[in-house]
């Protein structure tokens, strides 16, 4: 038995990209401060993307990959090392890494961009010229009504007709007023700060990582997951339970999902703008501690030797979202803390 997995498309061209870099290395007298700074500009043309096509020709997929778009991006990479204190056997260094990057769609080749599902989650190139290359959009949120049902917008009016809301975004795309453009799903600023302290044979270093200026989508309490798959959600406890609750919560009432008026309610609520949050955060990435065993006395039988300990994934120390979520792992558990102790030597 054989099967055809993909259509041969002779019109498909390679993606092309051009990049311009300007950089500079610098160092102060005595090397107290040194580092590099680099500016780049990137242009991509003929990027791959899914396009609607006449599936009468094949039928097995609703879209095909074609050269759909162009992009333009720029950014700055800065790497800064400073020796803060260097006095006798004590030494403190800081390494500061900063990256800034921004990119946007400059051309979308397919005329039918409007026909796409405009509910974006950053997994495809944004089919809107001038917007960030990977972005998040959401249903415009109208709060809960006095029955505890989530409300969206159709033609500028509050609505709980989820089919109509869905149709409105299929027909009118981003312009219809049922959707809101949230922003980029890729951090604009990111990098780390590594501090290293050394006293005699004892050294100590730790890394703080940061990501700023982007958005992510959190999970939602949905009926289908609870009823259909038995997957609970902590939001359940904060749900709407009686009239008046709509002023203090955004979590809808728990209802019997098979009633016709609830068709599409989960789908709307999950992608509503209340679930799009700022992703900015600072993370305690690792902490190392090491003690050098090799000294002048031991040199005869030991070239070098080290006892070390390492703690990794120490968690988030600051985040912009108030719901205590890890923006890097919105759907799963973050990797657990890790501790390592070791001994390393050479003779």
């Amino acid at each position: 038995m054989q099967r055809i997995n993909d259509l041969n498309n002779p019109d498909l061209r390679w993606e092309k990209s051009r990049q311009l870099n300007i950089g500079m290395d610098f160092s102060s007298k005595g090397k107290h401060i040194s580092g590099s700074i680099e500016y780049y500009e990137k242009k991509g043309t003929d990027l791959y993307g899914n396009t609607l096509y006449d599936y009468t020709t094949w039928g097995n997929k609703g879209t095909v990959v074609t050269n759909t778009s162009n992009m333009k991006g720029q950014g700055i990479d800065i790497n800064l090392r400073s020796i803060n204190i260097s006095r006798g056997e004590f030494n403190w260094q800081t390494n500061f890494i900063y990256n800034y990057n921004t990119s946007k769609t400059t051309r979308y080749l397919s005329d039918d961009a409007k026909e796409f599902n405009m509910l974006l989650d950053g997994s495809i190139i944004t089919p809107i010229v001038g917007e960030p290359l990977y972005s998040i959009t959401s249903y415009r949120w109208g709060g809960l009504n006095n029955q505890g049902d989530p409300q969206g917008y159709v033609n500028g009016q509050l609505s709980t007709d989820y089919n109509a809301i869905g149709n409105s975004i299929t027909v009118d795309g981003i312009d219809g007023g049922s959707l809101v453009f949230i922003g980029t799903s890729v951090p604009a600023h990111f990098g780390s700060i590594i501090n290293e302290l050394r006293w005699k044979r004892l050294s100590f270093s730790f890394n703080l990582m940061y990501k700023l200026g982007y958005y992510f989508r959190k999970t939602a309490f949905t009926l289908s997951e609870l009823n259909g798959s038995g997957i609970g959600h902590p939001d359940y406890y904060k749900r709407w339970q009686q009239p008046g609750d709509e002023f203090s919560t955004n979590i809808p009432a728990y209802v019997y999902a098979d009633y016709p008026q609830y068709t599409g309610r989960d789908g709307f609520y999950r992608y509503a703008s209340v679930h799009a949050l700022k992703g900015d955060h600072i993370r305690f990435h690792y902490l190392n501690i090491a003690f050098d065993l090799a000294s002048r006395k031991t040199k005869r039988f030991l070239q070098s030797g080290q006892v070390y300990g390492n703690l990794a994934n120490l968690g988030i120390i600051w985040r912009s979202n108030k719901e205590h979520l890890d923006p890097d792992y919105p759907n799963t558990y973050a990797p657990p803390r890790q501790a390592t102790i070791g001994f390393r030597c050479s003779f």
């Binding site: 038995m1 099967r3 299929t170 068709t263």
Partner: protein, 466 residues
Amino acid sequence: MNTINKWAYFLILWLTGGCIILCLSGCKKYLDYPFTNNVRIPTYLSDLQGLMDDAATMNENRTPSLVETSSDDYFCLPERYAALDDWPKQAYIWKPYDYRYPNDWAICYYPIYISNFCLDMSKDIERTSGNASEWDHVNGSAYFFRAYYFLQLAWTYALAYDEATASSDKGIVLRLTSNYNDPSVRSSVAETYKQIIQDAQRSASLLPNLPMHSYRPSKAAAFGLLARAYLSMRMYDSAYYYADQAIAIKSDLINYNGDPDLGTLTINYPFKRFNKETLFYSEMNTTGTSSLILASRARIDSMLMNNYETNDLRRTAYFTKSGNYYQFKGSYTQTSRNFTGISTAELLLIRAECLVRSTTNGSGNLQKALEDLNNLLSKRYRTADFIPVTANTREAALDRILLERRKELLFRGLRWMEVKRLNKEGKNIVMRRFLDGNLYTLEANASYYALPIPIDIIEVTGIPQN
């Protein structure tokens, strides 16, 4: 020392050069090789046969469901209807609806693409005495599948064939190559049926009488397909001819009184899959509006149900009681999916109908038609008290044959075409739905009998909507 160094240098140079040459030739060979792990470019007849032996693409979960959900053999329980999505809701009351991928259109054009691909590729393979039977089988199968799904699409998206208007009525898109760049255009109904018949006839001339498995097409299946096509066109002489040819090859019937292909009649799905009546196997898809006809929602039309007498074994084999109504459990797929393939029983009924309609040979044909009918019914009614059907007039015989057709072939994707065809014969069948105290009707010969084409196809191709 110096000389040794020189020699060593030479040796290294020579070895490196050799390696480069070796590498270059190796690369070339590698690039020529059409295999990468499990992915390959199909080039051999066995590859093409393999593509069409992929039942999940060519047979299963495939034929249109909108024709069944739009038909009147069933009704949807009102409280279940309320929980449906928009599209099935609108389809149920015959309201045009803008729907998109995935749908019957996409699902049926997929095996058509595979057929065209096989036909295109086999053009580059010479037919020799060594590969003749394989070559014929590949080409015959491809023509069959193309015609089979063209006919399914014509039943769904085109009006019934009418000699007077067929050349101007809008037919389906006849895709005859696998070239993705060929634009899609709608043919006329006349062109659609002409292509179907031409393809089916070609396949009949290339295929063996009977297949290795009913997933595969055969001469008998091609004759059956031609009988179906001509019946839809109301060309009863030709339909008779091909039904007769198919029956001459295979005429096995399951005896519902007891048969190896049959379990206890009362169980769910009592019929064995790939049973002896199955000339060609296909299933209806479960996409789009098909949620309407899930056994949990759909109940058999009570008027239709009343036509199954107590000694009609189909009453227990096909149906199970649920509340005040009955639901269907008699699919030849032995699952909840609907069987839409070609059965010997269907061909017997086509032959019987065409015999009655034929004006030649006086009452001789009427007797022969009743023989066919009674042959089938004797396997469907309890043997102990089966009384063969008699009819004095052609009209009486025809009415009974048409009724038995409906009783025998429900949930096979056939009723929609049947109603279109019979309305062209002047039967004036008006479909009705009752919902929340409202009555919805679909008038005979309404333009809606050519069902709406997906809106994204209309937008991308610009072909006219129905």
